[in-house]
């Protein structure tokens, strides 16, 4: 277990304990989100049964966004490792970890901005939410993923606030949970990109 500046919760007598619960919680949450997107996907398959969808040419900014998001997962991991390493008395890794965390946030925000540009591009072509079933699903998929990602961004902002403002007093498990969620946002987006690219 990490030592040093973390607010510790030491409960060796139990199964798991609160730290493990954060990890279980995030996996359970990921499971539920996966189920929701499975529902959206099945809706897409059923809806496409009526065969009235017209193909959408994906804006190329989508690929740049994908790259930014993949990169952000890498920086998130760098940050997590830096901070975990930096918890000793010297705390040398903390500053580095903090910088990576800010970079992750910037990349996350860049992804959201890029997705907005993709919407603008589609709108400029006259493709709106209600134009046809493919455009509907494009907006629904990207908006729902974006909303979930904004949740991750909120967690990043919270972690940065706690890291900078209060002498690194947060639980390692919270950081780990955020990192797991952030990587999941990556995986989810790759899945959605595959569905969007092949079905819409």
């Amino acid at each position: 277990m990490a030592s040093g500046n973390y607010a510790q919760v030491v409960e060796p007598s139990r199964f798991g304990g609160p730290d493990r619960a954060s990890r279980s919680g995030i996996w359970v949450g990921i499971f539920a989100i996966t189920m929701s997107f499975a529902a959206f996907t099945s809706a897409l398959y059923v809806r496409q049964g009526s065969g009235d969808g017209t193909h959408i040419a994906l804006p190329s900014v989508i690929y740049a966004n994908t790259l930014a998001l993949l990169l952000s997962s890498f920086t998130m991991e760098m940050s997590r490792r830096g901070i975990a390493r930096g918890l000793g008395p010297e705390a040398f890794g903390l500053r580095k970890g903090m910088v990576w965390l800010v970079v992750t946030l910037v990349l996350g925000l860049a992804f959201v901005a890029g997705q907005y540009l993709a919407w603008r591009y589609l709108a400029a072509q006259g493709l709106y939410l209600a134009t046809n079933s493919n455009s509907s699903f494009f907006y629904v998929f990207t908006a729902m993923h974006g909303l979930h990602l904004l949740g991750g961004i909120a967690a990043l902002v919270y972690l940065i606030g706690r890291t900078a403002g209060s002498n690194y007093r947060f639980r390692q498990s919270l950081f780990d949970a955020t990192a797991i969620y952030w990587h999941f946002m990556d995986v989810l987006w790759l899945y959605l990109l595959f569905v969007i690219g092949t079905r819409l």
């Binding site: 007598s13 139990r14 199964f15 304990g17």
Partner: protein, 587 residues
């Protein structure tokens, strides 16, 4: 009694001030009571609506004094219009299924007792827990707002079938803003349930105290755990469904609205949507929802029966495995609600088979109860009577399920009172009996006072007999061809069935009236009831090892250590014929 040596850092500080203690509380016990309280308000509202419907069915032209104040268009002069009848029906179903049958047995009792039964001081995520209740409360307010807006509540039933639920005001009264409020309310409700389910699962996995292995958890803890897994997946599907419905209604998309649809002489400006898609998404949630309502009741009833039989069940493990099987199979049966939807007949057969299979674990559970009851010295009290009542309802309602599970028979019975009778008994009233059994059983722990047993028994007998008088005749009406959701039958071929309807309505008024005995008992006992000891039923599980009502951190800053499963009855212990889970004595 040994206790874990480590003084745990409690997940939150002791609450101070009225608002932190009673309103925006992080304490799972307060949140559990809030859910229960909300369910209590909702159940009386739902019951009042059913009274209005029963009244209108048999006296369709008689005025209900004051009803025009609620809706001058829906009940002009106090007489309910056919459309307003459907509004009442929609709100009755929605309130009962979501805000009563989901809230009370699962979120209410589960919140209060799950952490205590596993030896934790609170849920894993107390802030999420608080949020889950308040989100649910907002969902409730949004739903009942539909009563006061000029449009009125929706007329589409609790299943809100598309395309009529998706097209807006052309489809009828209540289908403009009323239906939107409904969909917003249910979407918000899903968020609350997802937060709650996540909390239940993480808490059960990781906050069990030393010695509390999975197989030492009480059956009701298991039931809440399994239910939370079902809820997590079910509400994760209903939420997207509601969002898509809202988009169809508000953003002009066509997920559920087909091409060329003409409603009220107007061509709808949508194309290519699939009304069947809504039914698939809705029932993929809807059928597991039945188990979200009934499994916690199965758990509660098992818990109450074991305590009052003073001996273990024939096999607690088999009940737990059967509940798991039900949870698993509940994902494969949703199509049995759609036998007449135009779905491929082969699919119907494929859905029929697991539906019939699911009766096997349900039957096993029932046989274990009955086999264990055989030869037991059952203590008769209000809690055990309602538990027996549950078994009775579960069997009676379950048997009619055999008929409906077969597509060929369902074609005749579909959308008749037979179906209404079936689900009211097996899901509605059975779950209510489970809630009532749990209430009489746990009230001493929750309030520190005993409920009045005589009033409890009176409440049971009127409710038990009354329920059969209401819902058994529904089956006969259904077989006679009496369709559901019609607001009156006085002038058509169903008129000869009116005497049966009259009988049902009178039974409904009497049975509903008996619920005020319960309400009085609940409120009176809360303030004037006899002081409850720590363990009035001589039960073994952890909630009975702490004071009534429990302190804010449940175990006084310590964690108990568990030595036994919760079925140590009929043994020689130092306190009597039972040994508590945290007692180190050998048995």
């Amino acid at each position: 009694m040994e206790e874990a040596v480590v003084q745990p850092a409690h997940v939150h500080a002791p609450p101070e001030g009225f608002i932190r203690k009673h309103i925006f509380s992080l304490d799972h016990k307060v949140i559990g009571k809030q859910y229960y309280g909300l369910a209590l308000v909702a159940v009386f509202m739902g019951m009042a609506l059913s009274w209005l419907m029963r009244f209108h069915l048999v006296w369709p032209t008689t005025k209900v004094p004051g009803l025009d104040l609620l809706s001058s268009t829906g009940a002009p002069g106090g007489v309910i219009t056919p459309e307003y009848y459907l509004s009442l029906l929609t709100m009755h179903g929605t309130l009962m299924v979501f805000f009563v049958l989901t809230n009370a047995p699962f979120a209410g009792f589960g919140n209060y007792f799950l952490p205590i039964q596993i030896g934790a001081e609170d849920m894993a995520f107390p802030r999420f827990n608080m949020m889950s209740f308040w989100v649910t409360f907002v969902a409730f307010l949004v739903l009942v707002l539909a009563f006061v807006i000029p449009d009125g509540p929706p007329i589409s039933g609790w299943t809100a079938y598309a395309p009529l639920s998706a097209v807006g005001k052309d489809a009828g009264p209540g289908l403009a803003w009323g239906q939107s409020l409904w969909a917003i309310s249910i979407a918000i409700f899903c968020v609350g349930q997802l937060l709650g389910s996540l909390n239940f699962i993480a808490t059960t996995l990781d906050l069990r105290t030393k010695g509390m292995t999975f197989m030492r958890m009480p059956i009701c803890t298991w039931a809440w755990f399994i239910t939370s897994a079902i809820g997590l997946l079910a509400f994760a599907v209903l939420l997207p469904a509601c969002l898509l419905l809202l988009l169809d209604r508000m953003a002009g998309t066509s997920f559920f609205i087909p091409s060329g649809l003409v409603i009220s002489d107007r061509l709808q400006n949508h194309a290519g949507g699939s009304p069947l898609l809504w039914q698939h998404l809705f029932w993929f949630f809807g059928h597991p929802e039945v188990y979200i309502a009934i499994l916690p009741a199965v758990g509660i009833v098992s818990h109450v029966l074991i305590t009052n039989m003073r001996k273990p069940l024939l096999s607690a493990k088999v009940i737990i495995y059967s509940m798991m099987s039900i949870g698993f199979l509940s994902w494969m049966v949703w199509g049995h609600h759609m036998f007449v939807s135009g779905m491929n007949p082969t699919s119907s057969l494929l859905f029929s088979f697991p539906t019939l299979t699911i009766t096997i674990p349900a039957t096993i559970i029932t046989l274990i109860w009955l086999g264990s009851l055989y030869g037991a010295n059952l203590q008769i009290n209000a809690a055990s009577l309602f538990a027996l009542g549950f078994v009775s309802m579960f069997v009676s309602g379950g048997v009619s399920g055999f008929f409906l599970a077969q597509p060929s028979i369902d074609i005749y019975l579909h959308a008749t009172y037979f179906v209404v009778g079936h689900f009211h008994m097996v899901m509605g009233v059975a779950a209510i009996f489970g809630i009532l059994s749990g209430t009489y059983f746990w009230f001493p722990k929750m309030s520190g006072r005993m409920m009045n047993e005589s009033l409890g028994k009176l409440h049971f007998w009127i409710t038990f007999v009354g329920t059969y008088c209401i819902f058994m005749p529904f089956h006969y009406l259904g077989m006679a061809g009496n369709v559901r959701r019609y607001s009156s039958f006085v002038n058509d071929f169903m008129a000869p069935l009116m005497p049966v309807h009259k009988f049902i309505s009178i039974a409904a008024f009497v049975t509903g009236g008996a619920q005020f005995i319960f309400l009085f008992n609940l409120i009176y006992s809360r303030f004037r009831g006899k002081q409850a000891p720590e363990n009035p039923w001589n039960a073994t599980s952890l909630e009975w090892s702490i004071p009534s009502p429990p302190p804010w951190d449940n175990f006084g800053g310590k964690h108990p250590v568990i030595y036994h499963d919760p079925y140590q009855y009929g043994v020689k212990g130092s306190k009597g014929d039972f040994v508590m889970q945290d007692s180190p004595e050998q048995v």
